[in-house]
């Protein structure tokens, strides 16, 4: 079984522990000094060295991870800069950094560049299909076994496929292999590097790296600072948040308010507007003879279209995302508020940079770490009701297929609607999308929902709960909610 988002990982444990320690440091009487001490507190003198060669290396890597937790780029920070200096800098910062991902290159060292490799299973057979199939003449027989000449090998993998003993293996680089757009690769020193011109911020590399080398730059200090300053900070929780912790939505709301938030809005509220507008838009487009339309709520997909498939733009819905509408409502109701979007993935950090109504983004690992730092037990909260009741369909946006299903609910039955779901972006699905855009037609259907993550937002790179229980919890919440049909018949349609 391949490692995926919900596979338990020691790297997640480390990243979360650092976040908890950073939050505790921020809330202590000496933020800078207690931040500087994090690597030493985690690996005190004489402690075990679980992962690296020595205690110094462990501490150095923990320091680098803390840099990302403070919201800075690990690559661009000088080795001599103290964490205490960075803590002070983070406290003074007004806006988060542009690129939400950063790579801890020293953690990349354990990972070899992608190559094809003959294992001991090679039987030195007479048929020699590997030698015969190699177009580059890279394989020869030495001492009765196949040997690959690295100078000639192009990593095509043909020999891997033809070996009757499965003796030839391709060693992959997990981040390179997970990236759907070829934006991350090892450089000449063997360090992974992100090409930010290509990167769509989907976070797949962060989930895939077994060394936990890819980090999100956290905005947790920025949010803590605003709360400490007494600002009216409002949380907007994306639908996937409901599945993250073993409690009710109302208990979660109260727990979030205990962190210091003035109010909590469900982004499902904005999802309801997305559904209504997108349904209208789809009908209109179809009437005008459009072949197909794609959804536009996934930030990773939107980045993909903008950066790699511009020819898809005419087919992508012009409807805004649930985050957009929710943030608009919050700022209208509370012009003085600081808004924080609670996100299952890193891509929303990019989206928020272009949205003046969303000030900050926190992911679920960061929110979870904050609960730990303050010792909040979500199940012990009584529960607070949400002011606006969102629909079942809006609350189901985080489940793969949920967006297309919501839109379909509001479409006339006689409209020829054929929903298709692209459940996760891969190199293959990106090729497929390019084909649909180029040909101007999709043979699988006309309402295409695209989710960058497998399973939808519940499979986001920074979720806390495993997919199965999260889905169960969201589904039971959805089933207890009213259909969007009742909302539409009850009130006038909200138009952007």
């Amino acid at each position: 079984m391949a490692m995926n988002t919900s596979t338990p990982k020691q790297t997640s444990h480390l990243k979360r522990e650092i976040l908890v320690r950073l939050i505790k440091a921020y809330l202590s009487d000496d933020f800078a000094e207690n931040t500087r001490l994090i690597p030493y507190d985690m690996r005190p003198k004489g402690s075990e060295v679980p992962y690296r060669c020595c205690i110094h290396s462990e501490r150095a890597i923990l320091r680098d991870r803390a840099i990302a937790g403070l919201g800075f780029s690990i690559e661009e920070t000088e080795d001599s800069t103290l964490l205490s200096e960075l803590a002070n800098k983070a406290e003074k910062r007004d806006v988060p950094e542009q690129q939400p991902l950063t790579v801890l290159t020293t953690a990349c060292k354990g990972c070899v560049p992608s190559r094809v490799y003959v294992t001991d299973l090679c039987q030195g057979c007479v048929a020699r299909p590997c030698v015969n199939t190699c177009k580059f003449g890279a394989i020869s027989i030495q001492n009765g076994k196949s040997v690959i000449d690295p100078a000639k090998c192009k990593n095509c993998g043909m020999c891997v496929q033809v070996c009757p003993y499965q003796a030839i293996q391709k060693i992959i680089v997990p981040c390179e292999s997970a990236c759907p757009v070829g934006a991350i690769a090892k450089d000449e020193n063997g360090h992974a590097k992100i090409d930010f011109e290509k990167c769509i911020s989907c976070g797949k590399c962060a989930s895939a790296c077994p060394f936990g080398a890819v980090h999100e730059k956290s905005q947790i200090i920025d949010v803590l600072k605003n709360i400490k300053a007494g600002k009216k900070v409002i949380a907007m929780i994306a639908p996937a948040m409901i599945g993250q912790l073993p409690c009710t939505a109302q208990q979660l709301k109260e727990a979030i308010m205990k962190l210091g938030f003035a109010d909590v809005y469900e982004v499902a509220q904005g999802a309801d507007i997305t559904t209504k507008n997108e349904a209208e838009e789809f009908e209109e487009r179809l009437m005008k003879g459009a072949e197909f339309m794609t959804t536009s709520c996934c930030a990773g997909y939107n980045e993909l279209v903008d950066r790699h498939i511009p020819e898809m733009k005419p087919f992508r819905s012009d409807t805004k995302t649930p985050m957009y509408y929710t943030a608009e409502i919050v700022k209208k109701e509370h012009p003085d508020a600081v808004t924080v979007f609670f996100s299952p993935c890193v891509a929303k950090k990019r989206e928020a940079l272009n949205n003046p109504n969303t000030d900050y983004v926190l992911n679920y690992e960061e929110v979870g770490a904050w609960f730990i730092a303050l010792g909040i037990q979500v199940t012990e909260c009584e529960g607070k009701e949400f002011k606006t009741e969102s629909s079942a369909e809006g609350r189901n946006f985080c489940v793969t297929g949920g967006v297309a299903k919501a839109v379909q609910t509001l479409l006339p039955e006689d409209l020829p609607t054929h929903p298709v779901v692209i459940d996760g972006l891969t190199k293959q699905s990106v090729r497929d999308l390019k084909k649909y855009a180029k040909n101007g037609v999709c043979d699988l259907g006309n309402l295409i929902e695209i989710m960058a993550c497998t399973g939808g937002c519940l499979g986001g790179n920074s979720t806390v709960n495993a997919m199965k229980p999260a889905l169960k919890q969201v589904t039971s919440y959805v089933n207890s909610s009213k259909s969007i049909k009742e909302q539409v018949s009850g009130t006038e349609q909200v138009k952007q």
């Binding site: 727990a255 770490a369 730990i372 199940t379």
Partner: protein, 86 residues
């Protein structure tokens, strides 16, 4: 073999965020593997994380009286097997 082994998976907020979210599968897989020799349940905070910096050793699982720190599915199954083979 007379007494049932009790497995308590802490589902308090700290343990949940630090990884017991991934231990929930034990609640289904353990009865399937061991039948009624083992009793497994998810429990509210066991209170082990609140002392000092002990959150960093979460998630916690209790197998009878034995506390498993930084619990994983493998560690819990190993502890059950050891108790059953005693």
């Amino acid at each position: 073999m007379d007494k049932k082994i009790s497995v308590k998976v802490c589902l308090g907020t700290t343990c949940f965020v630090m990884g017991s979210s991934n231990l929930q599968e034990l609640i289904e897989t353990v009865p399937a593997k061991y039948g009624d020799r083992v009793e497994v349940s998810g429990v509210p905070c066991l209170g082990l994380c609140s002392i000092d910096w002990e959150f960093s050793k979460a998630p916690y699982v209790k197998v009878d009286d034995e506390v498993i720190k930084e619990a994983t599915v493998e560690k819990v199954l190993k502890a059950i097997d050891e108790k059953l083979n005693k």
